[in-house]
């Protein structure tokens, strides 16, 4: 019975090919747009998430405060108030996974005939843990390197390319500010940070080496900032509070006086970025859904015309024994066939379009089975929803009125 109905629906659609095609086109464009937009949106979301992951998770940055010298206010991080001892104390706090006191600076690097100016980070082995940074070759320096302030370093990929080219840098000696440093390892590539900086253009040396030998400091044992990692996202508020209280106490800051440090929650920033990407993705999907809706209304429009045009046929069918439900099924099947075939073509075009976009624009594109399934389900639902009213109208006709219709 249903097979016969399907054959009849197919025949009716074939009888007016151009119209069927145009109706289907609404569905094709709607579904194609949804798939394409979701792919673009999810691609953007994925890019943001990768950037966030490259930053390290559950991170705080603790900056020393500003200082004023002869009327010149020096900006954040200038005050020599954060010490290595502070770092050790913070590491003792509950739920703190690791702390990396960091002394950044810029220096000229030389290897053979090549030289390169880059950011040099003095830090501890925890730096790699906190930033979730792996080595692609060699070994990291250890706590004993920190204690003895050895001249060793880890190179970022960009630095390796500029100094060594294709040569293997591990075990070689480079000169930083004219002092020799042994390359212990190479950092894995991390790519761009959220704000577009090249994270691989960096060198890491032991913090003690940076402070005592490389940059020097008027105030021994002070760093510009520290990175602290909480054990979990849930522990972050408690950790933030504990760090604040601890430093408040250690720095002997009087009640009501300004802090000489600040604690920043990087995850909150990252979450904002992730949410922005998600909202964008949702918005693209919503805009595309409108075209799907318009496609659905197109189906309803054509089905209504079709029902009116075929009123006499409906009357004939009823006169020879079709029940209302048979007529309903017939028209509903037509609507569903149109929307499902339109959807299949739309999925093909949407996926193809997404691949083309990623090929020519280099944008990240993510086509998930879920988004295809969703577009398909929505298309079928649209077919049923918008086909229902015209089909219902056809089925509710009185046989005699339908037969008499001219």
């Amino acid at each position: 019975m249903t097979a016969a109905m399907l054959a009849e629906a197919w025949q009716a659609m074939g009888a007016n090919r151009l119209r069927t095609f145009l109706t289907m086109l609404g569905m094709v464009i709607g579904v194609g747009a949804v798939i394409l937009m979701l792919a673009v949106g999810q691609g953007a979301q994925q890019q943001v998430q990768e950037s966030i992951a490259s930053m390290g998770s559950n991170l705080f940055i603790i900056l020393s405060g500003s200082t004023t010298s002869g009327g010149l206010r020096m900006g954040g991080g200038a005050a020599p108030t954060l010490t290595m001892a502070d770092a050790a104390a913070i590491e003792e706090l509950p739920s703190v996974a690791a702390v990396a006191p960091t002394a950044p600076g810029t220096a000229q690097l030389v290897y053979g005939p090549n030289n390169w100016s880059t950011q040099v980070m003095g830090s501890t082995p925890s730096f790699l843990t906190v930033r979730d940074w792996k080595l692609s070759a060699g070994f990291p320096f250890t706590d004993s390197d920190i204690r003895s302030a050895t001249r060793v370093c880890l190179l970022g990929q960009t630095v390796v390319q500029n100094l060594f080219g294709d040569e293997d840098p591990v075990g070689k000696t480079i000169r930083i500010k004219n002092s020799p440093y042994v390359v212990l390892g190479v950092l894995a590539a991390k790519g761009q940070s959220l704000d577009g900086r090249d994270q691989d253009d960096t060198v890491i040396v032991p913090v003690t080496t940076a402070l005592r030998k490389l940059f020097g400091s008027q105030f021994a044992g002070t760093v510009r900032f520290m990175m602290a990692q909480a054990e979990s996202a849930d522990a972050m508020p408690a950790v933030e509070k504990a760090i604040n209280e601890l430093l408040h106490q250690r720095h002997r800051i009087r009640e009501g006086a300004d802090n000489d440090f600040s604690v920043r929650n990087l995850t909150a920033l990252a979450n904002t970025a992730a949410e922005t990407a998600q909202v964008m993705s949702l918005m693209l999907g919503a805009i595309a859904s409108v075209s799907l809706l318009v496609g659905g209304i197109g189906i309803m429009n054509i089905m209504l015309v079709s029902v009116t045009e075929r009123t006499r046929e409906i009357g004939i069918r009823m006169a020879i024994g079709a029940r209302g439900s048979d007529i309903l099924l017939q028209f509903l099947l037509e609507a569903i066939i149109i929307s499902v075939i339109g959807c299949l073509i739309g999925v093909a075009l949407g996926v193809g379009g997404a691949l083309l976009v990623s090929k020519f624009s280099g944008m990240a594109i993510v086509v998930t089975a879920a988004s295809i399934f969703m577009a398909f389900a929505v298309a079928a639902a649209v077919g049923i929803f918008f086909g229902w009213y015209p089909a219902r109208k056809a089925a509710a006709m009185k046989p005699i009125d339908a037969l008499r219709y001219q």
Binding site: E8, A12, I316, R317, R323, G324, I400
Partner: protein, 244 residues
């Protein structure tokens, strides 16, 4: 006249009114007719006498305002829409003045259409449809379409469609109204054959005396009332008059 119990059609005191803005307009007034199995009845009457309305009610396409209609032992007034559709499918075969074939379907698909609503498998549907086409003399071109054949042939296809479910009753509403005289007579010969050889009850509406003359019994309607109901031979000349 047939005994009431085994009648194919039993209509008692049937009224039909149409609701208009000016109030209810009566079309059929207190009509009572009983048709026994195997009868061949012609219904005549001038335009506006209510004969088409009567036919539509007989065919369960329209419902009476008052009165009782028992078709093949079932009281039509108590049936719901689906049961009426079932009766139209199984008990009645319809033949219309305008043929009412589906223009896009082939002849065999047209004839097989009632079987779809009965749930008959496709192979059996087509076999039965071809059998019926052969019976009306059109077995040679089952895959043709209605617009490729003459009016008389189209009406034969419509009759084949009416026959495909082996109905007890054929209702023909001016079946020769769109046909020339010679073709009309061929169609009437087909009805006579179905009536005499297969014992199918035939009720037809016509305003042509020569067409009505094929029947055995005449029911004449005027202004919604039955003014004559009896054997054709005994009808007064006026009752057989050609009506405009």
């Amino acid at each position: 006249m047939a005994r009431a119990a085994d009648a194919v059609i039993r209509i008692e005191h049937l009224d039909k009114e149409y609701a208009t803005e000016a109030g209810a307009v009566p079309v059929l007034k207190d009509v009572s007719v009983t048709v026994a199995p195997g009868e061949f009845v012609a219904i005549m009457g001038p335009s506006g006498s209510g004969k088409s309305t009567f036919m539509n009610i007989l065919g369960c396409l329209d419902v009476a305002t008052r009165g009782r209609y028992v078709l093949n032992g079932r009281d039509v007034g108590t049936l719901d829409k689906d049961e009426l559709a079932h009766l139209r499918n199984q008990v009645i075969g319809f033949v219309f003045q305008g043929f009412n074939l589906l223009p896009r379907a082939s002849l065999e698909d047209n004839v097989a259409l009632p079987l779809i609503y009965r749930g008959t498998p496709r192979s059996e549907r087509l076999a039965r449809a071809r059998e019926m086409l052969a019976k009306v003399g059109l077995g040679a071109y089952p895959r043709s379409h209605p617009n490729q054949i003459s009016g008389g042939q189209q009406q034969r296809v419509a009759i084949a469609r009416a026959l495909v479910n082996q109905p007890k009753l054929i209702l023909a509403d001016e079946p020769t109204g769109n046909l020339d005289t010679a073709t009309s007579m061929e169609i009437m010969a087909l009805f006579t054959e179905l009536n005499e050889r297969d014992g199918i009850t035939v009720v037809l509406v016509t305003h042509e005396p020569d067409i009505a003359a094929v029947a055995h019994r005449l029911v004449r309607l005027t202004d919604g009332k039955v003014i004559y109901d009896g054997p054709l031979e005994r009808a007064a000349p006026g009752h057989m008059e050609k009506t405009p």
